[in-house]
Amino acid sequence: MASSPEETKVETLEALADTIVPGPRRGPRDRAVAGVSRTGGAVAAGALDLLRWDATGVSGSLDDYARSLNEHAGGYAAEHGIAVDEDTPAFVALPYDDRAALVRQLTAPGHPEKALWVLLVLFCYMAYDSAAHLHTADAIRAGHPGLTAMGITRPDDDGLWRFPSWSYGRPLADPHPDTTASGSPR
């Protein structure tokens, strides 16, 4: 069944975010997420929420991004003889490894659109590794998949981190023999 332009855009961008940090399918009809990882990835982390926020500077270009990504994917499919379902946005129709190969092409040094694609994937990635659309403490409390997977600890009650233990507390090497009185190299 053909999808609306909005659905096409969302699926395409989700498929991109899922290529950067993959996650599990959300249900049997989920085409955007390729399902190559069992724990929540960039989509579950809220990549679309971050991309849609105007603070990023990419929110106004998402239609163009999705259209262009599908054009590139159509070209990629044709070039590699991959048959894609007409009803599915071309990028979404690609298997994970081909999505990844296309992302590598678009972000490789020398690609004329590299800067644009790097910007977009940067935010997809940041949704996972830093939840840049959420207050960090709230995100951790809510079990944000990226911050949780990375093992980032919870802050104190006032939202600030403090570590009462930080050091092995003993000499672990000899300093360079030429160190000066100020602690600098000679």
Binding site: I20, P22, S130, I152, S167, L172, A173, R186
Partner: protein, 550 residues
């Protein structure tokens, strides 16, 4: 049109290069105005939060270039507010470097010996702690132990951190909430303000023109307090002397934009940029091997798993800072912390095809607490060049804050690449020994190389073809304009640069005072340290007298 504001000295930028002259000139009696493009935050406004719009993005700048991206401060206090506060002095051989010009790059007047009294003045003004092993973070201790295990030395790094107030939260890049970091907001800047200097945040300087009486007119735009893509008006100020200290990623851009009105710039303006030879490696530690091979235990059942804990860099390996080694083979290897958001995307997951994204990278992120980041500072080849300036500031701003696209192009030469490869190999040698870790460098393919230490884009020197400034930091052909920030440093330093930038700024002050006096400003040289200490002033007095005479 004749109600243009006037001052004696106009300082552009409030980082190390701006705050230090601003203090001395104000204390000496000059009227000083400091224009700073970023906001002015109080300690209570520094947040532990990665959300866009928190202090982390308000005070930080990430300028993407072609082959090199630059990170820096964007606030009153400049880089000193976001930096990691490692404050070593540069090794002696650095001042003898020949670099790409094949003859000594530094002015004859400057060596480690002649700079030493100026380093001392900085050390008296910014409280620098010689960290002991009890201050060293788990990450630093791990690096030290790995260095020793491979027959190397390792040094706790001197840092502008009050270790008694530090809680090891590793949020230094968002500003220090605990006033432990000794940023310029606790020394030079308040002292400058106490002597009457005015600091104006959210004032972004665009260009400089000349006045009929030989002074300068500085043109600025007022930046919106939240969305830095927007401006809210503009203005200008006339000054007898201009001190340009917008940082090495911004200073040359202001001069390039001013060229049409001011006249030709020296060839070296916007050329010879160095990223201080910076490059990062990520080690993912095998916790069992850390315990078995290095005998490390945190006391809570963990061997390491402490990437999140600490205060940036605490331990460095300086074995290769040896002047008898050939140029381009000398570097330091410093343990570092880089937070998520900017600090993990470029890390490469190991494998037949190392990759920064996808399933393998996700697995690597799951071991994030066992990461150890090693920071190399090699001797690069000053290969950075700035293209024609953007419409405003030094970048086309993409995001509301932080992210912009600049005009710097950096194509590492074979020499630079060989030095990086050598340092990469040594990191691997140290950390992969006995199965301790898997080490990969950060990719340069995504946003190019990456530096938090921009240098040399408007440098001092004796040769007018390869240096934009004379050895007193005055811009060649444009008397009364001085450049005192990282762009004045001739080349890579093999250690963190803020101490050397600051010493050079201290050293530049007497000549700026002399230039102001020549233009009728009643100003004296000779202020003590911001807290009133005078030992550094006494020791530097003979050198200052010579610089005052010119």
């Amino acid at each position: 049109m004749n109600d243009v504001e006037r001052t004696d000295v106009l300082v552009i930028g409030s980082g190390f290069g701006g705050a230090i002259p601003a203090y001395h000139l104000a204390a000496g009696g000059a009227r000083v105005v400091v224009l700073e493009r970023g906001p002015w935050l109080d300690t209570a406004e520094y947040e532990h939060d990665f959300k866009l719009g928190s202090s982390y993005t308000r005070i930080f700048d990430f300028t993407v270039g072609d082959g090199m991206s630059v990170l820096g401060g964007n606030c009153v206090g400049g880089g000193s507010v976001v930096y990691f506060a490692a404050m070593p002095r540069a090794p002696r051989f650095v001042f003898e470097r020949r670099g790409s010009v094949k003859r000594r790059m530094w002015p004859a007047a400057i060596s480690r010996d002649t700079l030493e009294p100026w380093y001392d003045r900085v050390a008296e003004s910014i409280s620098i702690t010689q960290q002991g092993w009890e201050d060293v973070s788990y990450a630093g201790g791990l690096w030290a132990a790995a260095c020793r295990h491979s027959g190397r030395s390792a040094n706790p790094v001197p840092a502008a951190v009050d270790t008694s107030a530090c809680v090891n939260c590793n949020w230094m890049m968002a500003g220090c909430r605990f006033d432990a970091k000794q940023s310029l907001l606790v020394n030079y800047l308040p002292a400058a303000i106490a002597h009457g200097a005015e600091v104006r945040p959210l004032h972004e300087v665009q260009s400089i023109t000349r006045t009929p009486d030989g002074g300068y007119r500085v043109h600025y735009k007022i930046v919106h307090g939240e969305d830095y893509r927007l401006t809210e008006g503009e203005g200008r100020i006339e000054a007898k002397v201009v001190v340009l200290a917008a940082g090495a990623a911004a200073t040359p851009v202001i001069l390039q934009r001013s060229e049409r009105e001011l006249g030709a710039m020296p060839y070296a303006v916007g050329r010879y940029f160095s990223g201080n030879g910076e490059r990062l490696n990520t080690a993912v530690l095998n916790e069992d091997r850390v315990r078995e091979v290095l005998g490390l235990e945190r006391g809570d059942g963990l061997a390491y798993a402490a990437n999140q804990i600490g205060k940036g860099p605490t331990v460095a390996n300086w074995d290769r800072l040896d002047g008898s080694l050939p140029e381009y083979t000398r570097y330091s290897l410093e343990q570092l912390y880089f937070p998520p958001g900017l600090g993990t995307i470029l890390a490469l997951a190991d494998g037949p095809e190392p990759t920064w994204f996808g399933p393998a990278k996700k697995e690597m992120l799951e071991r994030w607490q066992s990461w150890l980041i090693i920071f190399q500072m090699i001797e690069d080849d000053n290969e950075g060049v700035f293209g024609p300036p953007p419409e405003r500031g030094n970048a086309d701003r993409v995001s509301q804050q932080m992210l912009g696209v600049g005009r710097l192009s950096y194509k590492p030469t074979a020499t630079t690449q060989a030095a990086w490869a050598m340092a990469d190999a040594e990191c691997k040698e140290i950390l992969e020994r006995d199965g301790l870790a898997t080490v990969t460098p950060w990719t340069n393919d995504l946003v190019g190389a990456y530096t938090v230490h921009p240098l040399a884009s408007c440098r001092i020197g004796d040769d007018p073809y390869t240096s934009a400034l004379d050895d007193r930091h005055e811009l060649r052909g444009h008397p009364g304009i001085f450049v005192t920030d990282g762009s004045a440093v001739p080349g890579a330093l093999t250690v963190n640069p803020a101490m050397t930038i600051s010493a050079l700024a201290e050293r530049a002050v007497p000549a700026i005072v002399a230039a102001a006096r020549e233009r009728g400003v009643e100003v004296e040289y000779g202020a003590p340290a911001p807290d009133g200490s005078t030992a550094g002033r006494r020791a530097a007095a003979p050198l200052a007298a010579a610089l005052l005479r010119g």
